[in-house]
Symmetry: C2
Subunit: 206 residues, 2 copies
């Protein structure tokens, strides 16, 4: 589904060109897991090759200093992604923020709205609390505000999307939002389209 | 695409069952054009066979008394549809309203938001002006507020959808809204999904 991290420079360049030729802006990649220092170096080299401004990742906690070093060397920011109730390292935005608060300011968060809501936390409140380090959001909706929740079309679930977008607007958020849609993986177009329409409708009415 | 008006009672019953079994509510049909009295009788017989509460139609102006008679006989309302700049009979909501204002109160309008906007008229204002006879809306968006406008995904065009839905909410509209999507006729699902999402987003944020 994604371009492998082992892709050659030529493969990366071809993929980037394909995205651009489709009229899309390639903004980031991920979630990139990193369990060794070579994997940290490979992730940032890959992001640099693709011309990315930041990457969404999940380095092991012991590798955060190595990741910070890579951020400084490459100028590429790292948005660490929280994965909810079953993620022992980074379930919540707070679990990430406390580890990086004193690191380089390009070490930050990609708040996954679905996994955050599945912890019983309101994504809007979490974004506001950790706002100075929020670089990206995985926007989605989930069927329940607990570990049983699964992705549904945005607007059909339990997340208060108008509040989330209202908070981002009020705080003049300048980062990115990416729709992440794990439902209907073999034919996700209609669900993604409905989700995009919902977000645009909320913004238009607000 | 649609069940023909010449369908037998058995064919109509099978189609209605198919819709219901898919979990959908079959609310109306149309646009049904009527150019002779037998066609008026056939349209209402068809609607009655399908168990419809009202039908969306466009009888010739001279047939409006026959249509009113059929409404009284069957108890099925008629929502007359305006078709915009190229429609010589019923371009605007006003062109219909003036003809039916003194007829049975079950003679009314299906305001097509796209064709109305293509006349340079704001659908929200038109709905409010003729509200007592608005039974249904064809909700869509169009690329331009003139005869050149064509259907686009709701939210991508020029119609002020938040104002339209806000007006309907404020007036406690109790009729129906149907998405009509003429774009991508061979593969309309994504566009319809985006449109539905947009409408739900606007309503959620309002």
């Amino acid at each position: 589904m994604h371009l492998p991290l082992t892709a050659s420079a030529g493969e990366i360049a071809a993929a980037v060109a394909r995205v651009r030729n489709a009229g899309l802006t390639l903004s980031t990649c991920g979630v990139v897991y990193m369990t060794t220092e070579p994997e940290v170096r490979r992730a940032f080299a890959y992001a640099k090759e693709a011309g990315l401004r930041f990457l969404v990742g999940a380095p092991d906690e012991a590798l955060l200093p190595a990741a910070e070093k890579a951020v400084k060397e490459t100028g590429i920011s790292l948005a660490i992604h929280n994965h909810g109730p079953t993620d022992r390292r980074y379930p919540s935005p707070e679990s990430i923020y406390t580890l990086i608060a004193n690191m380089d300011r390009r070490m930050g968060l990609c708040i996954d709205c679905g996994h955050t809501q599945r912890l019983g936390l309101d994504p809007a409140a979490q974004v506001e609390r950790y706002f100075d380090r929020v670089f990206d959001l995985h926007v989605k909706d989930v069927s329940a505000a607990d570990a049983e929740g699964t992705t549904v079309e945005i607007g059909r679930g339990v997340i208060d999307i108008p509040r989330l977008l209202g908070t981002l607007t009020r705080l003049a958020y300048a980062g990115t939002l990416h729709i992440e849609f794990e439902k209907d993986e073999n034919d996700p177009l209609a669900g993604v389209a409905e989700s995009a329409g919902y977000l645009r409708g909320v913004l238009a009415a607000a």
